[in-house]
């Protein structure tokens, strides 16, 4: 249980962060770039896991939160000429507003209705992006110009297009979100979220306002996903409407299921696994999605709780 061995859990997480840091100096160029991208998308998966894994709310609209950060930051740089930190903050701000409004409306429902409502809102968001093509670039998307992607810190300026800077920025964001997630799930608040997942009615009768707790979880999840989107726009320079499509609502669900729902490191493992399976199989055949599909089916059959979820169940009960 989570009461036991906090030192072990923190040591493991710091170990993973250190490993990712060391890998930056060892990986060849191609995989270096790929891993930076995976870390940013793993943040998206961690945001999704916060709501799906710990509160048990299955949303099919999280592309909307990712896109809120992506467009919030992207539009601030491209249309308003804001600096990188200000644009990142704008992305987070958009995430807060969107998740708060969607949470207030969608949390009136549960179960299948919650899935449908979140998916509908995400579709509306996607269509709005296409509709306001004058500003958003429509289905073409927008490229964030290289000169704008510079982070000025006093006298020094860091070019986010530089591979090492990009990798380290991605790692920094990933580490912060990972440690924050770990702290949240180990806190009293995390215990309440799990209790809502396990039995909401009982949790109400133990004196907890489950609606406010769930709303807070939607907003936390929304902020984390928006942080991922904002970082994606600023680090990789592309803001496109495909990131708001339903595919990007389903992908984080897949990553989390693969890695293990309600495990702190599962989202990273799942994202990593999926990317590498696609990367390796697409080198051999153009029908690589077939192999990915078979791999997913095998995983669900033999590891129904995801990779880390099954490891926790069978061997390492203390994994957070």
């Amino acid at each position: 249980m989570s009461e036991a061995s906090p030192a072990k859990a923190y040591a493991l997480h710091l170990g993973v962060i250190t490993l990712l840091f060391v890998l930056s100096f060892l990986l060849p160029d191609y995989y270096h770039g790929l891993l930076a991208r995976i870390m940013v998308l793993a943040v998206f998966a961690m945001g999704y896991n916060m709501l799906f894994g710990y509160v048990g709310l299955l949303s099919l609209g999280h592309a909307m939160f990712f896109a809120a950060g992506l467009y919030g930051a992207g539009l601030a740089v491209i249309q308003l000429g804001w600096s990188v930190p200000a644009a990142f903050a704008a992305g987070l701000g958009c995430g807060v507003v969107v998740s708060l409004v969607i949470g207030l409306l969608a949390l009136r429902t549960t179960g299948v209705a919650f899935m449908i409502v979140t998916m509908m809102f995400a579709q509306v968001f996607y269509l709005l992006i296409l509709y306001f093509a004058t500003w958003t670039g429509g289905d073409q998307g927008m490229v964030v110009p290289q000169p704008a992607r510079v982070l000025s810190l006093g006298a020094t300026s860091l070019e986010l297009t530089n591979p090492t800077v990009r990798y380290m920025t991605a790692l920094g964001l990933f580490s912060i979100v990972l440690l924050v997630t770990l702290a949240i799930v180990r806190s009293r608040y995390g215990r309440v979220l799990v209790a809502i997942r396990e039995n909401e009615e009982r949790t109400k009768m133990l004196g907890y306002d489950t609606f406010s707790n769930k709303l807070a979880a939607v907003v936390i999840s929304g902020i984390i996903c928006a942080a991922s989107g904002a970082a994606y726009a600023l680090l990789f320079g592309y803001v496109g409407s495909s990131f708001a499509s339903v595919q990007y609502s389903i992908l984080p669900l897949l990553w989390v299921l693969l890695g293990g729902a309600a495990t702190t490191l599962g989202p990273l493992i799942g994202t990593l696994f999926m990317y590498y399976v696609i990367d390796i199989t697409s080198g051999y055949t153009s029908a690589y999605l077939l192999i990915v599909g078979i791999a997913l089916i095998l995983l669900v059959l033999f590891f129904p709780k995801g990779i880390l979820g099954s490891i926790r169940q069978r061997w390492l009960g203390w994994l957070p």
Binding site: E3, R191, V194
Partner: protein, 242 residues
């Protein structure tokens, strides 16, 4: 002395059925009150109205001098009304400790914030119910009787002023029932207990007063002896003599 809990004209309709019908009820502090009655008499609906799990169609509920009729259930819990479920609903996947930590961390909120304060509160509740040595088992692996006790431990950790027990001895073995009676007496030293119970020996041993429900109304109220000798009660349970 002022009653801890009163209801005035409390009613609840389910479609055409009036499950609780115009009930005036008063409960004194420190009392152990048993609520009995035939199946479908409205006992569980009545305590659900008091705990806030369902809303009344009409009437008023006053707890400790405050009108709580329109307060949501979680606020009533924070004001001291704890409800233990008739159908065992512990968190099966969480440890026994975590089950009790959840209510314990709520009552510790305004006092000490330290982890050890929560731990102490959890262990006190577990020791009172005899579950201390099972603290780290998943709750779902406890025997049925122990799950019932865990329900009570979760209620105790809320430090309630009014503890509502809905058929707590259902499914318990005779030996467990004896321990349970001792436990309820112990709880009643610093809380008022409202008990729905079918097991008559338990009711007769524990209750200071008994309220008998029939068809959504209060049929009779009095000491265990008076209720035993009440003709109307016998009729409700056994039917009319030909």
């Amino acid at each position: 002395m002022m009653p801890l809990l009163t209801t005035k004209g409390l009613s609840r309709d389910f479609g055409g059925l009036r499950a609780v019908d115009n009930v005036d009820f008063a409960l004194m502090p420190g009392e152990i009150r048993a609520v009995i009655g035939p199946n479908g008499a409205g006992k569980t609906t009545f305590v659900s109205l008091v705990s806030g799990r369902i809303q009344p169609s009409a009437g008023m509920i006053v707890f400790d001098g405050t009108d709580i009729t329109n307060l949501p259930a979680y606020v009533r819990v924070r004001q001291g009304i704890a409800y233990t479920f008739q159908i065992t609903s512990v968190y099966a996947n969480l440890s026994v400790y975590a089950n009790v930590a959840l209510p314990a961390q709520l009552t510790q909120r305004h006092g000490s914030h330290s982890k050890s304060a929560i731990q102490a509160a959890v262990m006190t509740a577990l020791e009172r119910t005899g579950l201390a040595d099972r603290a780290h088992m998943p709750a779902g692996q406890l025997s049925y009787g122990h799950q019932r006790l865990l329900e009570v431990a979760m209620g105790l950790a809320l430090k309630p002023r009014l503890l509502i027990l809905d058929e707590p001895t259902q499914g318990l073995a005779d030996s467990e029932i004896d321990n349970f009676i001792t436990l309820v007496r112990e709880i009643a030293k610093n809380a008022t207990v409202l008990l729905i119970e079918h097991n008559m020996p338990v009711v007769m041993q524990l209750a200071d007063r008994i309220t008998v429900f029939n068809a959504g109304r209060i049929l009779a109220e009095g000491t265990p002896e008076a209720i035993r000798d009440n003709a109307a009660v016998q009729e409700a349970y056994l039917g009319t003599a030909p």
